[in-house]
């Protein structure tokens, strides 16, 4: 792998950029791999990378039906944080956070991880109770965070309307300084390049059309480019998990919903942190390019159309202008939608399945992007060992039968 550096850039510039190498190969599929990862998004590519790097698995393929990083990796609002309420979720997200903190250097690709801090606003007394509960839990779990009152919030975000005039005045917030945003596409590309350099075959335009299963054990997949064999198959296909599960003959406890986002036109720097409000329902940050990146709520119906309903966007902008009245004359440039696989407890599924050798990593709902490195890391370990990694174990499908849900929206209501 050609190493990237400022010095290298200068060298390439002097040769008119004619000597840059491909960031990844475009190989033909082999007949057989040790492990197949279905899904070439951030999570799938991270899984492949860590499998190759940390578990010495050399013969890996990532099967992507479209283009790498073209699903939710390309469509989210790029927020990274780990201040989850329950021990199990907090441990998983904090694991991811620690990996984020060295990720650019690890994969030699600047993912522009910007630890500019995330505020989760509270507007009601119950919001504040929930915030205190969560921050107290975070602290005892070793996750940074503090509870701010309205004055403290105002100091961090002077342009936020913290007055009592607001319909739902800001009473305070939780503040996680290590949280922030990252450049979403770069995460997929960086992992892809790093995985490719370790020999992983990244097979784009390769769609899985079925599983080869015998005696309850998987031994390969059917694809539009022919059959490919492997004794271990990991599915990391947000937005398609239910479809793949059906191919393998079982159902999942999840539904796929549209989740919308939008951006403003680029503006000069005006907002230096991420601000999220669950109560009035909007969250916002400013990208390095200057766009205000705004996340909307989930539409209540199932939808694979990568678009949702317009009122959802309207409600979100109402919330944004309620919080930031100065943005009223700013203009919305573009909106889009992703497909989020949501579980009843707003927590993911990292699990074995009724089919031996077939593993699923799905159901991240609105929390997928921020977990990318952690998800890939523990899923890789699980695939390598055939047993779920301890951080992944609480997220088994079984919990929907035993009742051991990890209810992240029940109390925290901040599963974004």
């Amino acid at each position: 792998m050609q190493r990237y550096s400022g010095f290298g850039l200068v060298k390439h510039a002097l040769s008119h950029h004619e000597n840059w190498q491909r960031q990844w190969r475009n190989p033909a599929p082999k007949k057989q791999y040790d492990v197949i990862i279905v899904g070439g998004g951030g999570h799938g590519l991270a899984t492949a990378y860590y499998l190759a790097k940390e578990h010495g698995v050399k013969n890996i393929a990532v099967l992507e039906k479209g283009w790498l990083g073209g699903g939710n990796t390309a469509r989210n609002t790029t927020i990274v944080r780990s201040n989850y309420l329950w021990d199990e979720a907090a441990a998983l997200y904090e694991h991811a956070m620690k990996l984020w903190e060295g990720l650019s250097q690890d994969i030699n690709y600047n993912v522009m991880f910007s630890q500019r801090g995330v505020l989760n606003l509270g507007h009601t007394l119950q919001d504040m109770r929930d915030i205190q509960r969560r921050v107290n839990a975070n602290r005892l779990n070793g996750i940074d965070g503090e509870v701010l009152d309205a004055k403290g919030v105002q100091e961090i975000v002077p342009i936020l309307d913290c007055s009592k005039r607001a319909r739902y005045p800001v009473l305070g917030a939780s503040w996680q300084p290590r949280a922030g945003v990252a450049r979403h596409d770069a995460v997929a590309w960086g992992y892809a390049r790093a995985a490719d350099a370790l020999g992983v075959d990244l097979l784009q335009n390769t769609e899985v059309t079925g599983f080869k299963i015998r005696d309850g054990r998987v031994f390969g997949v059917h694809t539009n480019r022919g059959d490919i064999e492997a004794k271990t198959v990991g599915c990391v296909t947000a937005g398609n998990s239910g479809v793949l599960a059906k191919m393998a003959g079982f159902r999942l406890p999840l539904e796929s919903h549209p989740l919308q986002a939008l951006v403003s036109e680029p503006l000069k720097p005006i907002l230096d942190t991420v601000v999220m409000s669950n109560h009035v329902h909007g969250y916002i940050s400013q990208s390095d390019k200057g766009d205000l990146v705004i996340g909307a709520g989930i539409d209540g119906y199932n939808g694979y159309g990568q678009r949702g309903s317009y009122p959802t966007v309207e409600h979100t902008l109402q919330a944004i202008v309620e919080m930031f009245p100065i943005f009223s004359r700013v203009r919305m440039n573009r909106q889009w939608g992703g497909i989020v696989d949501t579980c009843p407890d707003a927590c993911p599924i990292l699990s074995k399945t009724p089919v031996k050798g077939l593993f699923f990593n799905c159901g991240w709902g609105t929390g997928g992007f921020k977990a990318t490195p952690g998800s890939g890391h523990v899923f890789a370990a699980s695939l390598a060992k055939g047993e779920m990694h301890p951080l992944a174990a609480p997220f088994s499908i079984d919990r929907f039968h035993t009742g051991a849900l990890v209810d992240e929206h029940g109390a925290a209501g901040v599963a974004h």
Partner: protein, 116 residues
């Protein structure tokens, strides 16, 4: 944004008057005590979640307050029919597999379009 034919109001109404309530035809087991934990979990949480023709329960919340069913394509979002509680759909994934298969694959193909 959808425009939904309410089978009770007998006219097309705006989506904002309705609430989606998940997959249709999830019947509560008649004898819950006879269910295993697995069966009960399946009833509570496990869903078909199809990419394609889907039967779902909606309520005309700001309107006649009646629950009813919609058969809708989850990629094109086309509403194929709406029908009252207690009725069965006349259009299903199987019944339209020929007719819709083309439409669905076209719809699936759309996913890979370039986004401006």
């Amino acid at each position: 944004m959808f425009q939904i034919y309410c089978p009770y109001c007998e006219e097309l109404r705006e989506e904002e008057e309705f609430h989606p309530k998940g997959e249709a035809h999830i019947a509560r087991p008649l004898d819950p005590e006879a269910c295993s934990d697995e069966e009960w979990g399946d009833y509570l949480f496990f869903r078909d979640n199809p990419r394609g023709v889907h039967h779902e329960l909606w309520v005309h919340a700001v309107g006649c307050r009646k629950f009813f069913n919609i058969t809708r394509h989850t990629v094109s979002y086309e509403i194929l029919e709406t029908y009252r509680m207690g009725e069965q759909p006349t259009i299903t994934a199987e019944s339209v597999s020929g007719d819709l298969a083309g439409r669905e694959s076209a719809a699936t193909a759309r996913q890979e379009g370039v986004r401006a």
